[in-house]
């Protein structure tokens, strides 16, 4: 039974958006990092969506908040094949998140990864970021992760790095602001 889109497609038009795209960055050459700086403070929460491929194998995507170089802790719950593992770090120099899809520009497979930062403008609580990530194709993993940095400052910049190599061409990070 076909249900064509378009019959009901006009619903919701004109409503005030509660989630807005702030910035999108896509790698046109291999790059080691992506940075969102001067992040506006007018939202309640942030979300970052990644479409990721790495030039390396099996290393974490890592991140820094406000260019801080210490005070990070991370934990991850990862399924790969039939195995589920848990890993964590404390007193670290980065937030550590699941790996991107391996590929090194030799494949069109990319992982889908979604990061959330709740209350990013709050100056009374530490900054915490959670993440869900999935990869299928050359390698397989599904991960749930969270990480924090022991500071109470508002988040004004976020930098994502490939753990040991570069992000491949086509890798995309999109930053969204969510109103509260």
């Amino acid at each position: 039974m076909p249900i064509p889109i378009g019959i009901l497609a006009a619903s919701g038009a004109g409503a005030s958006p509660s989630m807005e795209l702030i910035s999108t960055q896509t790698a046109t050459t291999q790059v080691s990092s992506f940075t969102f700086s001067s992040i506006p403070q007018g939202y309640k929460h942030l979300q970052i969506r990644g479409f990721l491929q790495s030039s390396s194998s099996g290393t974490s995507v890592i991140a820094r908040i406000n260019n801080l170089t210490s005070g990070y802790a991370s934990t991850r719950y990862t399924a790969s094949g039939t195995t589920i593992t848990v890993s964590s770090e404390s007193s670290d120099n980065y937030m550590r998140f699941p790996s991107a899809q391996q590929g090194n520009n030799t494949t069109n497979y990319y992982s889908t990864t979604v990061f959330d930062i709740l209350g990013y403008s709050d100056t009374t609580t530490t900054t915490t970021m959670k993440c869900v990530s999935g990869i299928s194709g050359l390698n397989y993993a599904l991960s749930l992760a969270s990480a924090m940095v022991n500071t109470t400052g508002a988040v004004s910049s976020i930098t994502f790095y490939d753990g040991t190599g570069n992000f491949a061409i086509g890798t995309t990070f999109a930053l969204y602001g969510i109103k509260g």
Partner: protein
């Protein structure tokens, strides 16, 4: 006014039971696609992009819990003919799918999750599926494996910028 990030494309409620239904004419003007389904029916359910089953085109990694207190189990595959959804019952199951760059020329990377509580039956799954084809996604087929998708099933589709 800022451009809405989530644009509603379709909301639809089945008025009668069917073996499967297709959502056709998905426009290409968005970056990603978000699909929310309230699923009612019997037997197991499936999702296919463009109805495709050729050369077992779906790869996946998923985590599943099937009981109220049991441990989660993990599984993966490099080739199946459908995205496997929840086992349907008269109690609705919530099923969400997020598809990255659905209109592009790369294999389609998608997240899905569903949650089911029906009487004493519990289920929860989080999975990543890759549709290993380069065609743009233009329609979705949702169906039942051997039985029916029942009246009352609802689907909502959003374009994401």
């Amino acid at each position: 006014m800022a451009t809405p990030t989530f644009t509603p494309l379709l909301t639809y409620t089945l008025s009668s039971s069917v073996f499967y239904f297709d959502v056709t004419g998905i426009p290409s003007g968005y970056s990603d696609l978000y699909v929310a389904i309230k699923l009612v029916g019997s037997a197991s359910s499936y999702l296919r992009f463009n109805g495709d089953t050729t050369n077992v085109p779906y790869k996946y990694q998923r985590i599943t819990t099937a009981t109220a207190t049991g441990n989660a189990s993990a599984s993966s595959s490099a080739g199946v003919s459908s995205i496997t959804g929840p086992s349907m019952s008269s109690t609705p199951t919530l099923w969400n799918i997020y598809i990255s760059q659905y209109g592009g020329s790369k294999p389609k990377s998608s997240f899905m999750e569903w949650t089911q509580i029906a009487g004493t039956s519990y289920g929860r799954e989080v999975g990543h599926y890759m549709w290993d084809k380069t065609a743009a996604l233009t329609y979705l087929r949702i169906g039942s494996s051997g039985a029916s998708v029942s009246a009352g099933t609802e689907i909502a589709i959003y374009g994401v910028n």
